[in-house]
């Protein structure tokens, strides 16, 4: 039984071998208790990570060849050969693997070291031989004397007779001899981790060849050349220094360039970056601007809405109000904002700021000015020229292409600047000498034309506004001077223009007649804030005033065609560039009113408060020439942009079958139709 049980246990897998071994002993003593356990453990148990193989695979015979090669040795070693300056494989790889090394302590008897040791151990060797002699000769104490007597002889004899014993005894310096039979040696070998050789080889540093010849004449030539170079450099510096006085300005720009060379390169990249960041931040606004069309307009009958888009503001201009807005005709996303103050008592500095729709966080250009800006106009063809009118009566022309914040031209007291604030400036077409020129109107009653001649502004009074229609030289009449507050030149007829005054009258004038008005309209009861010709119809213009009204006129008729009361002082009015019957007005109660005369002649089709606080006054409004957006400036320095909903942009339908006439003609016809409706009854009454 016991034998059988042991055999059974051997069959069990190795993992359990130790346990059964110990339990076997117990079982041999007490078979009855643990027997049942082991009887159950008969089945063959596989370890969990054993390979799953099919029967056939299990029976498959796999041959293994044992070689004497070291499996850890690398198969190919490559070394850099400096002789050949390339990597070469080593011919043979060392296969020896050392498992155990023990330093031995055997010495050859004839070696130097052995002799030295022997010499050292002369005395202790004598006693050792005596002892060994004593032990085996214990039984013969008689002979003990003779060994002592013959001790010295024995010593010598011992050296010669027993060379072996001496050799073995030279290591042992202690006289005591170990018991050869009663000692046991214990040794153990620890697990030696297999050694692995790792080495790394870097590429040798790159090499180059250089060749030259050093001769006396070569050295001399080199020095002479060097001295010449130095002299020419000195001369250059002297020459440059002498030119300094003449071209100070140019030198400055040169210096500036070299200094800011590196930064300007970063500047371009950073600008693109800024735009990208802005686009991401205001992504939804940009999407709205491009694609959003208010679908609810279909249900809203004929009314429209304004969708607020970007809002522009500049920190340093916070306390200033927007006094002028102008779109750039060439770059339709760029517009200029003039900032200043309408408050007579609080006059401070001003600013001219350019914004782009692509970057609503920060202005593109900033020009600080000493006096508040009241009006501005960007030249149509040369969009880098902007004319600005100030509160102190000066006019200036800025050139965007040039760096620096100073205007290119500025009028002074000598050169005929206005004595009162300049309310409006407008570029004119180039004169006969191809000089740019523009006109300005001011409260001092003069309409002046300025021409840019080379480096200065030359002025010519076009007309002097006076309170009475006719100016006579007689001493009885003292002609008072009216204050012009706005003007506008006719789109097609160059010399024809309108001037609105502070008294509420609008004068139609011609550049050719400097003393008389062609016509006067008693337009408003308060100052005329804006007067604008219609873009399409050549006879129609619009005016607005602080007396809460907006009036539309035909210039041949003395009374307005349409009058609209807006319940608050009207700051500005503007015709839309896409339709002859659509115009917008802004009022001091923060509302934008948009009218379309072809849809509704009496009411606005859109009245929308634009700014959060009701107390902010909207000061100016401008339509973008291409995109369906408007910008509105207010007296807190903010400019808001709004998108017009489709209802506000309606174009008249074309009858099928007809050739489609040009847009402008269509618009004109539209307006004409409207006017004719009004005119006929008048004519009939006349």
């Amino acid at each position: 039984m016991r034998k059988g049980s042991t055999v059974q246990k051997v069959l069990l897998p190795v993992a359990k071998s130790t346990k059964p071994a110990s339990k076997k002993k117990d079982e041999d003593e007490d078979p009855g208790e643990g027997w049942d356990e082991w009887a159950q453990g008969k089945a063959l148990i596989k370890p969990p990570d054993q390979l799953e193989l099919s029967e056939a695979e299990l029976k498959e015979e796999i041959t293994r060849i044992l070689t004497a090669n070291n499996p850890h040795a690398p198969q190919n070693i490559v070394r850099y050969s400096f002789k050949e300056r390339s990597y070469k494989p080593t011919s043979a790889v060392d296969q020896m693997a050392v498992h155990f090394v023990l330093e031995g302590s055997l010495l050859h008897e004839d070696s130097d070291e052995a002799r030295r040791l022997r010499a050292k151990e002369g005395l202790p060797e004598e006693t050792a031989t005596v002892d060994t002699g004593v032990e085996p000769d214990e039984e013969e104490p008689e002979t003990s004397d003779t060994p002592v007597e013959d001790g010295q002889e024995v010593e010598e004899a011992g050296e010669e007779d027993r060379p072996d014993s001496v050799a073995s005894k030279t290591d042992r310096k202690e006289p005591k001899v170990t018991n050869q039979f009663n000692f046991s040696e214990r040794a153990s070998q620890t697990l030696n981790n297999p050694l692995r050789e790792r080495s790394c080889q870097t590429d040798p540093p790159p090499r180059g060849t250089f060749t030259a010849t050093a001769t006396q004449w070569d050295i001399y030539d080199a020095y002479v050349e060097e001295l010449q170079k130095q002299e020419t450099n000195k001369e250059k510096q002297k020459a440059v220094a002498s030119k300094k006085d003449n071209d100070k300005g140019k030198k400055k720009t040169l210096l500036m360039e070299t200094q800011t060379d590196d930064i300007t390169k970063v500047g371009k990249a950073s600008k693109i970056f800024e735009r990208m960041v802005n686009q991401n931040t205001f992504d939804d606004i940009a999407q709205d601007f491009k694609y959003f069309e208010d679908a609810s307009d279909e249900f809203r009958d004929q009314e429209g809405t304004l969708l607020p888009l970007w809002k522009f503001q500049y920190d340093k201009a916070k306390r200033l109000s927007v006094t002028a807005l102008c779109w750039n005709k060439k770059y339709q996303d760029l517009f200029a904002v003039g900032m200043g103050s309408y408050d007579f008592s609080k006059q401070g500095r001003g600013m001219l700021v350019y914004y782009s729709l692509k970057n609503s966080a920060y202005p593109e250009f900033i020009y600080p000015t000493l006096s508040g800006v009241l009006c501005l106009d960007i030249h149509e063809q040369h969009s880098y020229l902007v004319a600005v009118g100030f509160y102190d009566g000066c006019v200036a022309v800025y050139n965007n292409k040039e760096d620096g914040s100073e205007p290119m031209y500025k009028s002074t007291a000598k050169t005929g600047k206005h004595t009162d604030p300049v309310w409006q400036v407008r570029w004119q077409s180039d004169d006969m000498d191809n000089n740019h020129n523009f006109c300005s109107v001011s409260s001092d009653g003069r309409v002046v034309s300025w021409t840019l001649v080379k480096n200065e502004l030359v002025f010519t009074d076009i007309i002097r506004l006076s309170l009475n229609a006719a100016v006579s030289e007689g001493p009885e009449q003292q002609p008072g001077i009216a204050c012009g507050t706005s003007f506008d030149f006719h789109k097609q007829i160059d010399y024809l223009f309108l001037v609105g005054t502070e008294e509420g009258k609008i004068h139609k004038c011609s550049k050719t007649y400097s003393s008389q008005f062609l016509e006067t309209y008693n337009a408003h009861s308060m100052a005329v804030d804006a007067v604008k010709w219609n873009h399409f119809h050549p006879k129609v213009f619009i005016s607005c005033s602080s007396d809460w009204t907006v009036k539309i006129w035909e210039h041949t008729i003395n009374t307005p065609m349409f009058t609209f009361d807006l319940n608050a002082a009207v700051g500005d009015v503007a015709w839309s560039p896409y339709s002859s019957t659509v115009f917008a007005a802004v009022t001091t109660d923060a509302t934008v009113h948009i009218f379309d005369l072809s849809i509704n002649k009496y009411e606005a089709i859109c009245q929308q408060p634009v700014v959060a606080k009701k107390k902010t006054k909207l000061t100016h409004i401008e339509f973008n020439p291409i995109y369906p957006i408007i910008i509105v400036g207010d007296d807190r320095g903010y400019v808001s942009s709004l998108k017009l909903s489709p209802n506000l942009r309606k174009k008249p339908k074309v009858k099928k079958g007809q050739d489609q006439p040009k847009d402008s003609e269509m618009e004109e016809a539209k307006m004409e139709k409207l006017l004719s409706l009004l005119r006929e009854p008048e004519q009939s009454t006349v």
């Binding site: 540093p205 090499r207 180059g208 060849t209 250089f210 060749t211 030259a212 050093a214 080199a222 020095y223």
Partner: protein, 106 residues
């Protein structure tokens, strides 16, 4: 007599004028170049008569500072073609008539 005297003066003059160290060819980095040049000037001035000692001084200092092994040749008339480690070569003139070539190649 006066002519030769003048000629001698001229010679002395030009030697004075041309005695600044003039680097003919180098591919060393800026700092290394300046340091090496100054070392060469010092050595040549110290051992004005003995080129070998000057070269020895330069070579040992370069070995200590920038690692082994450097080679130095100083002379008034010689031609050479050498293989050098890239960015470790300096060839300059000094003192109006001396040429110094310093390179590293181990």
């Amino acid at each position: 007599m006066a002519g030769t005297g003048e000629a001698k003066k001229e010679e002395a003059d030009y030697k004075r004028l041309h005695s600044f160290p003039l680097i003919r060819h180098t591919d060393m980095p800026e700092e290394m170049r300046v340091e090496t040049m100054e070392l060469c000037v010092t050595a040549c001035e110290k051992f004005a008569t003995n080129n070998e000692s000057a070269a020895k001084m330069i070579k040992e200092s370069m070995d200590k500072k920038f690692g082994s092994s450097w080679h130095v040749v100083i002379g008034e008339g010689f031609g050479f073609e050498v293989t050098h480690e890239v960015k470790n070569l300096l060839y300059m003139f000094f003192g109006g008539s001396l040429a110094v070539c310093v390179w590293k190649c181990s």
